[in-house]
Amino acid sequence: MSDGYLYFPGCNIPYRENQYELSARAVAEKLGIKLYDKPFTCCGLNTEPLDEFAALLFSARNIAVAEEEGKPLVALCNGCYKTLRVANTKLKQDEKLREKVNERLRIIGREVKGTIEVYHLLELIAERIKPEHIVKKISAKVAPFAGCHSSRPSEYVDFGAREKLEKIIKLAGGKVVRYRDMDKCCGAPLLALSEELGINLARQRLLSMKERDAQLAVTMCPFCQVSLDGLQVKAEQEFKESYDVPSLYITQFLGLAMGIKPEKLGIRENKKDPSRVLKQVVM
Protein backbone atom coordinates (compact mmCIF):
# COMPACT_ATOMS: atom_id res chain seq x y z
CA MET A 1 0.00 0.00 0.00
CA SER A 2 2.13 2.79 -1.21
CA ASP A 3 -1.04 4.77 -1.55
CA GLY A 4 -0.55 6.66 1.70
CA TYR A 5 -2.10 6.57 5.14
CA LEU A 6 -4.99 8.16 6.97
CA TYR A 7 -3.63 10.26 9.79
CA PHE A 8 -5.49 9.70 13.06
CA PRO A 9 -5.06 12.84 15.21
CA GLY A 10 -6.95 11.74 18.34
CA CYS A 11 -8.16 14.26 20.93
CA ASN A 12 -5.03 15.57 22.62
CA ILE A 13 -2.69 16.42 19.77
CA PRO A 14 -4.90 18.94 17.93
CA TYR A 15 -5.97 20.49 21.20
CA ARG A 16 -2.67 21.03 22.96
CA GLU A 17 0.26 19.23 21.31
CA ASN A 18 0.16 20.51 17.75
CA GLN A 19 3.95 20.54 17.56
CA TYR A 20 3.89 16.75 17.46
CA GLU A 21 1.67 16.74 14.38
CA LEU A 22 3.67 19.53 12.77
CA SER A 23 7.00 17.74 13.19
CA ALA A 24 5.48 14.38 12.25
CA ARG A 25 4.12 15.78 8.99
CA ALA A 26 7.45 17.42 8.18
CA VAL A 27 9.41 14.20 8.76
CA ALA A 28 6.81 12.04 6.99
CA GLU A 29 6.92 14.26 3.94
CA LYS A 30 10.70 14.00 3.68
CA LEU A 31 10.49 10.22 3.96
CA GLY A 32 7.76 9.93 1.35
CA ILE A 33 5.04 8.87 3.77
CA LYS A 34 1.85 10.38 2.39
CA LEU A 35 -0.75 11.36 5.01
CA TYR A 36 -4.44 12.01 4.32
CA ASP A 37 -7.06 13.57 6.60
CA LYS A 38 -10.65 12.71 7.53
CA PRO A 39 -12.78 13.74 10.51
CA PHE A 40 -12.34 11.12 13.23
CA THR A 41 -13.94 10.77 16.65
CA CYS A 42 -12.10 9.87 19.86
CA CYS A 43 -10.40 6.48 19.48
CA GLY A 44 -12.52 5.06 22.31
CA LEU A 45 -9.88 4.94 25.04
CA ASN A 46 -11.63 7.46 27.27
CA THR A 47 -14.87 5.51 27.26
CA GLU A 48 -13.36 2.11 28.11
CA PRO A 49 -13.73 2.43 31.89
CA LEU A 50 -17.43 3.24 31.54
CA ASP A 51 -18.51 0.90 28.79
CA GLU A 52 -16.06 -1.23 26.81
CA PHE A 53 -18.62 -1.95 24.14
CA ALA A 54 -19.37 1.72 23.46
CA ALA A 55 -15.60 2.34 23.37
CA LEU A 56 -15.32 -0.38 20.75
CA LEU A 57 -18.06 1.34 18.74
CA PHE A 58 -15.98 4.52 18.58
CA SER A 59 -12.91 2.55 17.45
CA ALA A 60 -14.98 0.64 14.91
CA ARG A 61 -16.53 3.80 13.52
CA ASN A 62 -13.06 5.17 12.79
CA ILE A 63 -11.82 1.89 11.35
CA ALA A 64 -14.86 1.82 9.07
CA VAL A 65 -14.03 5.34 7.80
CA ALA A 66 -10.49 4.18 6.97
CA GLU A 67 -11.84 1.11 5.18
CA GLU A 68 -14.13 3.33 3.10
CA GLU A 69 -11.02 5.22 2.00
CA GLY A 70 -9.09 2.00 1.46
CA LYS A 71 -6.17 3.29 3.51
CA PRO A 72 -4.46 2.08 6.67
CA LEU A 73 -4.66 4.20 9.82
CA VAL A 74 -1.58 5.76 11.33
CA ALA A 75 -1.59 7.20 14.84
CA LEU A 76 0.89 9.43 16.66
CA CYS A 77 -0.58 8.85 20.11
CA ASN A 78 0.20 5.58 21.90
CA GLY A 79 -3.29 5.60 23.42
CA CYS A 80 -5.00 5.89 20.03
CA TYR A 81 -2.60 3.36 18.53
CA LYS A 82 -3.26 0.71 21.17
CA THR A 83 -7.01 1.26 21.26
CA LEU A 84 -7.48 1.14 17.49
CA ARG A 85 -5.09 -1.76 17.05
CA VAL A 86 -6.71 -3.90 19.76
CA ALA A 87 -10.16 -3.11 18.34
CA ASN A 88 -9.07 -3.81 14.77
CA THR A 89 -7.52 -7.15 15.72
CA LYS A 90 -10.54 -8.25 17.74
CA LEU A 91 -12.94 -7.22 14.99
CA LYS A 92 -10.94 -9.16 12.43
CA GLN A 93 -10.63 -12.28 14.56
CA ASP A 94 -14.04 -12.47 16.18
CA GLU A 95 -16.80 -12.76 13.64
CA LYS A 96 -19.57 -12.70 16.23
CA LEU A 97 -18.24 -9.51 17.79
CA ARG A 98 -17.87 -7.92 14.35
CA GLU A 99 -21.48 -8.69 13.55
CA LYS A 100 -22.65 -7.27 16.87
CA VAL A 101 -20.69 -4.08 16.20
CA ASN A 102 -21.81 -3.85 12.58
CA GLU A 103 -25.43 -4.08 13.64
CA ARG A 104 -24.92 -0.70 15.30
CA LEU A 105 -22.61 0.74 12.66
CA ARG A 106 -25.23 0.14 9.98
CA ILE A 107 -27.46 2.68 11.76
CA ILE A 108 -24.89 5.32 10.77
CA GLY A 109 -24.39 3.77 7.35
CA ARG A 110 -21.02 2.19 8.04
CA GLU A 111 -19.51 -1.25 8.36
CA VAL A 112 -16.25 -2.90 9.39
CA LYS A 113 -15.07 -5.62 7.03
CA GLY A 114 -11.61 -6.17 8.40
CA THR A 115 -9.61 -4.84 5.47
CA ILE A 116 -7.15 -2.34 6.94
CA GLU A 117 -4.17 -2.21 9.32
CA VAL A 118 -3.35 0.18 12.16
CA TYR A 119 0.17 1.58 12.57
CA HIS A 120 2.10 3.92 14.81
CA LEU A 121 3.96 6.49 12.73
CA LEU A 122 7.23 5.48 14.43
CA GLU A 123 7.01 2.06 12.74
CA LEU A 124 6.79 3.65 9.32
CA ILE A 125 9.57 6.13 10.03
CA ALA A 126 11.92 3.46 11.38
CA GLU A 127 11.35 1.38 8.26
CA ARG A 128 12.26 4.18 5.90
CA ILE A 129 14.95 6.20 7.64
CA LYS A 130 18.46 5.80 6.19
CA PRO A 131 21.85 7.25 7.14
CA GLU A 132 21.74 9.53 4.10
CA HIS A 133 18.68 11.32 5.53
CA ILE A 134 20.80 12.57 8.44
CA VAL A 135 22.48 15.89 7.72
CA LYS A 136 23.12 17.08 11.29
CA LYS A 137 24.57 15.15 14.20
CA ILE A 138 22.89 15.39 17.59
CA SER A 139 25.69 14.29 19.89
CA ALA A 140 23.76 14.11 23.14
CA LYS A 141 22.98 11.48 25.74
CA VAL A 142 19.36 10.73 24.97
CA ALA A 143 16.83 8.86 27.11
CA PRO A 144 14.23 7.05 25.00
CA PHE A 145 10.74 6.98 26.51
CA ALA A 146 8.46 4.62 24.59
CA GLY A 147 5.57 4.70 27.06
CA CYS A 148 3.11 1.89 27.75
CA HIS A 149 0.61 1.61 24.94
CA SER A 150 3.25 1.41 22.24
CA SER A 151 4.37 -1.92 23.69
CA ARG A 152 1.63 -3.32 25.92
CA PRO A 153 -0.51 -5.37 26.00
CA SER A 154 2.07 -7.26 23.93
CA GLU A 155 -0.60 -9.71 22.85
CA TYR A 156 -1.78 -6.93 20.52
CA VAL A 157 0.90 -4.22 20.28
CA ASP A 158 4.47 -5.32 19.85
CA PHE A 159 6.54 -3.60 17.19
CA GLY A 160 9.61 -2.98 19.31
CA ALA A 161 8.90 0.68 19.99
CA ARG A 162 11.85 1.33 22.29
CA GLU A 163 14.29 -0.36 19.91
CA LYS A 164 12.96 1.84 17.11
CA LEU A 165 13.51 4.97 19.21
CA GLU A 166 17.04 3.78 20.02
CA LYS A 167 17.78 3.13 16.36
CA ILE A 168 16.80 6.70 15.49
CA ILE A 169 18.79 8.18 18.38
CA LYS A 170 21.92 6.34 17.25
CA LEU A 171 21.41 7.15 13.60
CA ALA A 172 21.19 10.83 14.53
CA GLY A 173 24.52 10.61 16.32
CA GLY A 174 23.16 10.43 19.86
CA LYS A 175 24.10 8.10 22.66
CA VAL A 176 21.29 5.97 24.07
CA VAL A 177 20.84 6.24 27.83
CA ARG A 178 19.37 3.25 29.67
CA TYR A 179 17.77 4.12 32.98
CA ARG A 180 15.80 2.65 35.84
CA ASP A 181 12.11 1.86 35.21
CA MET A 182 12.42 3.08 31.65
CA ASP A 183 9.43 1.03 30.51
CA LYS A 184 7.07 2.22 33.24
CA CYS A 185 4.10 4.56 33.06
CA CYS A 186 4.67 8.32 32.64
CA GLY A 187 1.91 9.24 35.09
CA ALA A 188 -0.34 11.11 32.68
CA PRO A 189 -3.31 8.69 32.86
CA LEU A 190 -3.55 9.44 36.58
CA LEU A 191 -3.94 13.19 36.17
CA ALA A 192 -7.72 12.98 35.81
CA LEU A 193 -8.06 11.56 39.31
CA SER A 194 -5.00 12.92 41.07
CA GLU A 195 -2.52 15.46 39.81
CA GLU A 196 -0.27 14.63 42.75
CA LEU A 197 0.02 10.98 41.68
CA GLY A 198 0.69 11.95 38.08
CA ILE A 199 3.48 14.33 39.06
CA ASN A 200 5.03 11.75 41.39
CA LEU A 201 5.28 9.20 38.61
CA ALA A 202 6.68 11.72 36.13
CA ARG A 203 9.24 12.78 38.74
CA GLN A 204 10.40 9.18 39.22
CA ARG A 205 11.13 8.84 35.51
CA LEU A 206 12.89 12.21 35.37
CA LEU A 207 15.03 11.40 38.41
CA SER A 208 16.20 8.14 36.92
CA MET A 209 17.03 9.85 33.61
CA LYS A 210 19.00 12.48 35.48
CA GLU A 211 20.78 9.78 37.48
CA ARG A 212 22.24 8.55 34.19
CA ASP A 213 23.12 12.09 33.01
CA ALA A 214 20.62 12.18 30.17
CA GLN A 215 20.65 15.53 28.37
CA LEU A 216 17.47 14.98 26.40
CA ALA A 217 14.47 12.66 26.47
CA VAL A 218 12.52 11.59 23.39
CA THR A 219 8.85 10.60 23.46
CA MET A 220 6.39 9.18 20.96
CA CYS A 221 3.07 9.99 22.64
CA PRO A 222 1.31 13.22 23.65
CA PHE A 223 0.53 11.82 27.11
CA CYS A 224 4.17 10.92 27.81
CA GLN A 225 5.30 14.28 26.47
CA VAL A 226 2.83 16.20 28.66
CA SER A 227 4.28 14.32 31.64
CA LEU A 228 7.97 14.63 30.87
CA ASP A 229 7.71 18.14 29.45
CA GLY A 230 4.85 20.06 31.09
CA LEU A 231 4.94 18.22 34.40
CA GLN A 232 8.73 18.51 34.51
CA VAL A 233 8.37 22.28 34.82
CA LYS A 234 5.72 21.82 37.52
CA ALA A 235 7.66 19.17 39.43
CA GLU A 236 10.82 21.30 39.41
CA GLN A 237 8.86 24.07 41.12
CA GLU A 238 6.96 21.82 43.49
CA PHE A 239 9.84 19.63 44.63
CA LYS A 240 12.42 22.40 44.31
CA GLU A 241 14.59 20.10 42.23
CA SER A 242 16.20 20.41 38.85
CA TYR A 243 16.02 17.50 36.40
CA ASP A 244 17.04 19.43 33.36
CA VAL A 245 16.09 16.78 30.82
CA PRO A 246 14.13 18.66 28.14
CA SER A 247 11.90 16.30 26.24
CA LEU A 248 11.39 16.29 22.47
CA TYR A 249 8.99 14.31 20.37
CA ILE A 250 10.96 11.75 18.37
CA THR A 251 9.77 13.53 15.21
CA GLN A 252 11.19 16.84 16.49
CA PHE A 253 14.48 15.15 17.36
CA LEU A 254 14.75 13.34 14.03
CA GLY A 255 13.54 16.42 12.16
CA LEU A 256 16.46 18.44 13.54
CA ALA A 257 18.87 15.71 12.47
CA MET A 258 17.30 15.74 9.01
CA GLY A 259 18.01 19.46 8.76
CA ILE A 260 14.41 20.63 9.13
CA LYS A 261 14.20 24.11 10.66
CA PRO A 262 13.18 24.24 14.37
CA GLU A 263 10.21 26.49 13.43
CA LYS A 264 8.88 23.75 11.18
CA LEU A 265 9.08 21.34 14.12
CA GLY A 266 7.29 23.55 16.64
CA ILE A 267 10.18 23.30 19.14
CA ARG A 268 9.07 26.64 20.60
CA GLU A 269 5.84 25.05 21.81
CA ASN A 270 7.64 22.69 24.22
CA LYS A 271 7.24 23.77 27.84
CA LYS A 272 10.70 22.83 29.08
CA ASP A 273 12.88 24.90 26.79
CA PRO A 274 15.42 22.65 25.04
CA SER A 275 17.24 25.46 23.20
CA ARG A 276 20.25 25.65 25.53
CA VAL A 277 21.14 21.98 25.25
CA LEU A 278 20.28 21.91 21.54
CA LYS A 279 22.77 24.73 20.95
CA GLN A 280 25.49 22.56 22.47
CA VAL A 281 24.69 19.24 20.80
CA VAL A 282 23.29 19.86 17.31
CA MET A 283 26.12 20.09 14.79
Partner: protein, 172 residues
Protein backbone atom coordinates in the same frame (compact mmCIF):
# COMPACT_ATOMS: atom_id res chain seq x y z
CA UNK B 1 -12.84 -15.77 73.58
CA UNK B 2 -13.66 -12.98 71.17
CA UNK B 3 -15.39 -13.97 68.01
CA UNK B 4 -13.58 -13.13 64.81
CA UNK B 5 -15.69 -10.72 62.81
CA UNK B 6 -15.32 -10.76 59.06
CA UNK B 7 -14.17 -7.31 58.01
CA UNK B 8 -16.39 -7.10 55.00
CA UNK B 9 -19.93 -8.22 54.51
CA UNK B 10 -20.36 -10.53 51.57
CA UNK B 11 -23.42 -9.15 49.88
CA UNK B 12 -23.22 -10.06 46.26
CA UNK B 13 -22.60 -13.68 45.54
CA UNK B 14 -22.93 -12.97 41.82
CA UNK B 15 -20.28 -10.24 41.67
CA UNK B 16 -17.78 -12.58 40.02
CA UNK B 17 -20.39 -13.62 37.50
CA UNK B 18 -21.06 -9.99 36.63
CA UNK B 19 -17.34 -9.31 36.21
CA UNK B 20 -16.85 -12.35 34.01
CA UNK B 21 -19.63 -11.20 31.73
CA UNK B 22 -17.73 -8.01 30.92
CA UNK B 23 -15.09 -8.17 28.17
CA UNK B 24 -11.72 -8.62 29.89
CA UNK B 25 -13.12 -9.95 33.13
CA UNK B 26 -13.25 -13.57 31.96
CA UNK B 27 -10.15 -14.85 33.72
CA UNK B 28 -10.61 -13.43 37.21
CA UNK B 29 -11.05 -16.87 38.81
CA UNK B 30 -7.61 -18.00 37.67
CA UNK B 31 -5.97 -15.65 40.21
CA UNK B 32 -3.98 -17.55 42.86
CA UNK B 33 -3.08 -14.41 44.83
CA UNK B 34 0.67 -14.46 44.23
CA UNK B 35 0.85 -10.65 44.36
CA UNK B 36 3.05 -10.24 41.28
CA UNK B 37 0.64 -7.62 39.98
CA UNK B 38 0.92 -5.50 43.11
CA UNK B 39 4.69 -5.91 43.22
CA UNK B 40 4.89 -4.68 39.62
CA UNK B 41 2.33 -1.91 39.96
CA UNK B 42 3.45 1.69 39.42
CA UNK B 43 0.64 3.20 41.45
CA UNK B 44 0.84 1.00 44.54
CA UNK B 45 4.11 2.52 45.87
CA UNK B 46 2.37 5.88 46.07
CA UNK B 47 -1.01 4.65 47.23
CA UNK B 48 -1.15 1.64 49.55
CA UNK B 49 -4.91 1.30 49.15
CA UNK B 50 -4.47 0.70 45.47
CA UNK B 51 -3.59 -2.98 45.48
CA UNK B 52 -4.67 -4.97 42.40
CA UNK B 53 -4.18 -8.35 44.10
CA UNK B 54 -6.43 -7.31 46.95
CA UNK B 55 -9.07 -5.74 44.72
CA UNK B 56 -9.26 -9.00 42.76
CA UNK B 57 -9.45 -11.03 45.98
CA UNK B 58 -12.30 -8.93 47.31
CA UNK B 59 -14.13 -9.19 44.01
CA UNK B 60 -13.76 -12.99 43.99
CA UNK B 61 -15.15 -13.08 47.53
CA UNK B 62 -18.12 -11.07 46.35
CA UNK B 63 -17.36 -8.02 48.48
CA UNK B 64 -19.63 -5.40 46.97
CA UNK B 65 -17.61 -2.60 48.51
CA UNK B 66 -15.25 -3.01 45.54
CA UNK B 67 -17.87 -1.41 43.34
CA UNK B 68 -18.35 1.54 45.68
CA UNK B 69 -14.64 2.08 46.07
CA UNK B 70 -12.58 4.57 44.09
CA UNK B 71 -9.62 2.19 44.08
CA UNK B 72 -10.16 0.37 40.76
CA UNK B 73 -10.28 3.80 39.10
CA UNK B 74 -6.75 4.59 40.26
CA UNK B 75 -5.31 2.04 37.84
CA UNK B 76 -3.14 3.73 35.21
CA UNK B 77 -3.97 0.92 32.76
CA UNK B 78 -0.27 0.51 31.99
CA UNK B 79 -0.57 -3.28 31.48
CA UNK B 80 2.66 -4.09 33.33
CA UNK B 81 0.78 -6.47 35.62
CA UNK B 82 -0.92 -8.07 32.63
CA UNK B 83 2.51 -8.80 31.11
CA UNK B 84 3.80 -10.39 34.28
CA UNK B 85 0.86 -12.24 35.82
CA UNK B 86 1.86 -15.93 35.91
CA UNK B 87 -1.76 -17.07 35.63
CA UNK B 88 -2.69 -14.84 32.69
CA UNK B 89 -5.51 -13.26 34.68
CA UNK B 90 -4.95 -10.00 32.76
CA UNK B 91 -5.39 -7.93 35.92
CA UNK B 92 -5.48 -4.57 34.08
CA UNK B 93 -8.50 -5.64 32.06
CA UNK B 94 -10.09 -7.34 35.08
CA UNK B 95 -9.96 -3.94 36.81
CA UNK B 96 -11.49 -2.45 33.66
CA UNK B 97 -14.31 -5.01 33.86
CA UNK B 98 -14.85 -4.10 37.53
CA UNK B 99 -15.10 -0.43 36.54
CA UNK B 100 -17.62 -1.37 33.84
CA UNK B 101 -19.75 -3.23 36.38
CA UNK B 102 -19.58 -0.27 38.78
CA UNK B 103 -20.47 2.13 35.96
CA UNK B 104 -23.41 -0.04 34.98
CA UNK B 105 -24.70 0.36 38.50
CA UNK B 106 -24.33 4.12 38.34
CA UNK B 107 -21.08 4.41 40.28
CA UNK B 108 -18.77 6.47 38.11
CA UNK B 109 -16.37 8.98 39.68
CA UNK B 110 -17.19 12.52 38.53
CA UNK B 111 -13.79 12.95 36.83
CA UNK B 112 -14.45 10.01 34.51
CA UNK B 113 -17.94 11.16 33.72
CA UNK B 114 -16.73 14.68 32.96
CA UNK B 115 -14.13 13.34 30.52
CA UNK B 116 -16.94 11.67 28.61
CA UNK B 117 -19.40 14.60 28.43
CA UNK B 118 -17.94 15.99 25.21
CA UNK B 119 -17.33 12.54 23.77
CA UNK B 120 -21.00 11.62 24.15
CA UNK B 121 -22.03 14.89 22.47
CA UNK B 122 -19.42 15.81 19.85
CA UNK B 123 -17.48 12.55 19.62
CA UNK B 124 -14.25 14.03 20.99
CA UNK B 125 -12.68 14.86 24.33
CA UNK B 126 -12.05 18.51 23.45
CA UNK B 127 -14.03 20.87 21.31
CA UNK B 128 -11.80 22.23 18.54
CA UNK B 129 -13.01 25.81 18.22
CA UNK B 130 -12.20 28.41 15.55
CA UNK B 131 -9.35 29.74 17.65
CA UNK B 132 -7.60 26.37 17.81
CA UNK B 133 -8.07 25.88 14.10
CA UNK B 134 -6.77 29.38 13.49
CA UNK B 135 -3.63 28.52 15.47
CA UNK B 136 -3.28 25.31 13.49
CA UNK B 137 -3.60 27.24 10.24
CA UNK B 138 -0.92 29.59 11.49
CA UNK B 139 1.38 26.62 12.00
CA UNK B 140 0.52 25.30 8.55
CA UNK B 141 -1.74 22.49 9.75
CA UNK B 142 -5.11 21.60 8.18
CA UNK B 143 -8.26 22.38 10.17
CA UNK B 144 -9.90 19.73 12.34
CA UNK B 145 -13.40 19.24 10.98
CA UNK B 146 -16.23 18.64 13.44
CA UNK B 147 -18.03 15.30 13.56
CA UNK B 148 -21.71 15.21 12.68
CA UNK B 149 -23.37 15.27 16.11
CA UNK B 150 -26.28 13.23 14.80
CA UNK B 151 -23.88 10.46 13.87
CA UNK B 152 -22.44 10.39 17.39
CA UNK B 153 -25.91 10.34 18.88
CA UNK B 154 -27.02 7.46 16.69
CA UNK B 155 -23.79 5.54 17.27
CA UNK B 156 -24.24 5.46 21.04
CA UNK B 157 -28.03 5.38 21.16
CA UNK B 158 -29.32 2.53 23.29
CA UNK B 159 -25.85 1.68 24.68
CA UNK B 160 -25.07 1.45 28.34
CA UNK B 161 -22.75 4.42 27.80
CA UNK B 162 -25.64 6.62 26.71
CA UNK B 163 -27.63 5.65 29.79
CA UNK B 164 -24.68 6.26 32.11
CA UNK B 165 -24.14 9.72 30.66
CA UNK B 166 -27.82 10.56 31.00
CA UNK B 167 -27.71 9.35 34.59
CA UNK B 168 -30.24 6.65 33.85
CA UNK B 169 -28.13 3.71 34.96
CA UNK B 170 -28.65 2.79 38.56
CA UNK B 171 -28.64 -0.32 40.67
CA UNK B 172 -30.81 -3.06 39.35
Amino acid sequence: MEKIQPKYRVVSSDLVKKIKQEPGGEFISRCYQCGTCTATCVVNPFRDDFNPRKIIRMAVLGVDRVLESLEPWYCAVCYLCTERCPRDVKPATVLMAIKNVAAKEGKVPAAFKNINENIARIGRLFEIDDFTNFMREDMGLPPIEPIDEEEVKKLISGTRFEKIMKGEESEK
